[in-house]
């Protein structure tokens, strides 16, 4: 241990005794996959075989990319823990069912290659890997990523697009039940709001996902949307519309909660989710993109280290005073 004398390296460790609860990455992944199953089934019912094609391709491409990268990086192959499959599946959920095969493959390869493996592998990425892949293809091929432009054989409409171009009155008659049942145009899985909500609650009950993040994310959306709705109801849609459209629910339960990209104390988690939820509405209302949820999640992922700085002081040291030296020197 040549580095033990190096006082510059601050390691945040808690004191023993430790306790192993038997949880593994693979078990967590299995629970996540179970939670995603209702949304998969709903999207198959809604979009049919094209959706199955996109999902299978994305999962396969993500796992293959991970395997290739791990071989190149001389790491142990870890496709069996299921994290790559989840990344691929979540990416597919954000794509329209009509996405061409090469778009799916490029997206999954970017997600795994640049989003995760370039940082060193599972748990090392700063920004949700799925969203990195999604953002790269979304910025590059906006036309193919837009379900309204590419999904021609459907009578459904994208509610967020309607809101963007026709105002809140055009979407006032869309019922929440319709949104929950997935009767809306959007990403093939992210539009199955009810099923995702079901899966999300399962994950929260299982303890795989922290309720603080998911709840405060939805709460932030609700809060911001309500405020804007009261300011001008004809311009800004109501809170339940914002929570039920786009990928808000997917982001709240499955994207914002990725372990390596979110803070891990209660107050930071609450603030993290709240910021994300508010950003969703702000981007939708004032940004140039229709759906702000993925961008909001990427932004709060980058802010997560800042939120993580909100921490209690160690036992025996006073609260940090403004202008005083670092607490470690006074301990």
């Amino acid at each position: 241990m040549s580095t033990s004398s190096n006082n510059d390296i601050l390691l945040a460790i808690s004191t023993p005794p430790f306790w192993h609860c038997g949880r593994t990455i693979r078990k967590n992944s299995l629970h996540t996959l179970i939670a995603l199953t209702p949304a998969v089934i709903m999207s198959l019912l809604q979009w049919g075989m094209p959706a199955a094609r996109v999902m299978a391709l994305a999962v396969l491409a993500a796992m293959a990319t991970e395997a290739v990268c791990q071989t190149l990086m001389k790491q142990k192959l870890s496709q069996d823990n299921g994290t790559a499959a989840i990344t691929g599946l979540l990416l597919a959920f954000l794509l329209p069912a009509s996405a061409p095969w090469w778009l799916v493959v490029i997206g999954a390869a970017c997600a795994m290659g640049i989003g995760r493996m370039a940082f060193g592998g599972y748990g090392a990425n700063q920004v949700n890997a799925t969203l990195v892949g999604w953002a790269m293809i979304f910025v590059s091929f906006p036309f193919l990523m837009d379900p309204t432009a590419s999904q021609l054989q459907t009578t459904l409409a994208d509610p967020l697009l309607k809101l963007k171009y026709f105002g809140a009155e055009a979407v006032a008659d869309i019922s929440v039940i319709d949104l929950l049942l997935g009767n809306q145009l959007g990403g093939l899985g992210s539009s199955q709001v009810g099923a995702l909500l079901l899966g999300g609650i399962y994950l929260v009950l299982r303890g795989v996902v922290r309720w603080e993040i998911a709840l405060s994310f939805l709460g932030g959306t609700f809060l911001a949307a309500t405020c804007l709705h009261f300011v001008d109801g004809s311009l800004y849609a109501g809170p339940f519309f914002h929570m039920g459209t786009g990928s808000t629910v997917l982001a709240a339960f499955f994207l914002a909660t990725e372990d390596s990209c979110s803070p891990h104390r209660r107050l930071p988690m609450l603030l993290y989710g709240l910021t994300g939820g508010i950003l969703v509405v702000l981007i939708r209302a004032f940004g140039s993109y229709t759906d702000g949820a993925p961008f909001a999640v990427m932004l709060i992922n980058l802010l997560a280290p800042m939120f993580a700085l909100i921490r209690s002081h160690p036992f025996g040291t006073g609260p940090r005073k403004a202008g005083s030296a670092d607490w470690r020197t006074r301990a």
């Binding site: 490029i106 910025v139 590059s140 091929f141």
Partner: protein, 226 residues
Amino acid sequence: MNQFIQELTKGLWKELPPFRLLLGLCPVLAVTKSASNGIGMGMAVLFVLTLSNMLISLVRNIIPSKVRIACFITISATLVVAVELLMQAYAYPLYLQLGIFVPLIVVNCIILGRAEAFAAKNPVHLAIADGLGMGLGFTMSLTFLGSIREILGAGTWFGYPVMWDGFQPFTIMVEAPGAFLCLGLTLAAMNYGTRRQLMKRNREGSEASASPCGGCRACSIGKSQD
């Protein structure tokens, strides 16, 4: 003569400005949307760098050391204005493409860095060699980055289509994030190559592992923990 060649070639690989020294990143990231932009910007910098190195080296004994930075900037600003006017006269489309980044050459880290670190301390012929080498390295790097970004992001190279029919351009590459992606991946590849080389050299038994990152202990810390 040997030293002349040494100073000339160090900028081409060993101290390649954007990729090894990470200097002058502002134009590297901003103007490399296409290969021709990269080469244009590189040539402008090459011109300014060589001449400013030469001039500064010529007057290095006259400049009082307290105001040397101001003098360096005056000299490089003069040259940049000359380049800008020449570019407006003879390469107007390129001038429009590069925009604000031509005047910004004045405050480019490479110009000042080479002036301060090299030209102000060395005789004229070496300063010229240094400026030429660094400028050529800079041009090479910019053209390389510009080529990658243009080929992937627009499907063309120097304006000529090079990809297959029906190729969908990967537009993010010509946008701002693409510049960071390309730069990061290029740096990673170069570091990987250098490390492979070093490991190979170490394996061959030469004890003197000529580490390019001299004083930094980061690598040895990582090793001792394993």
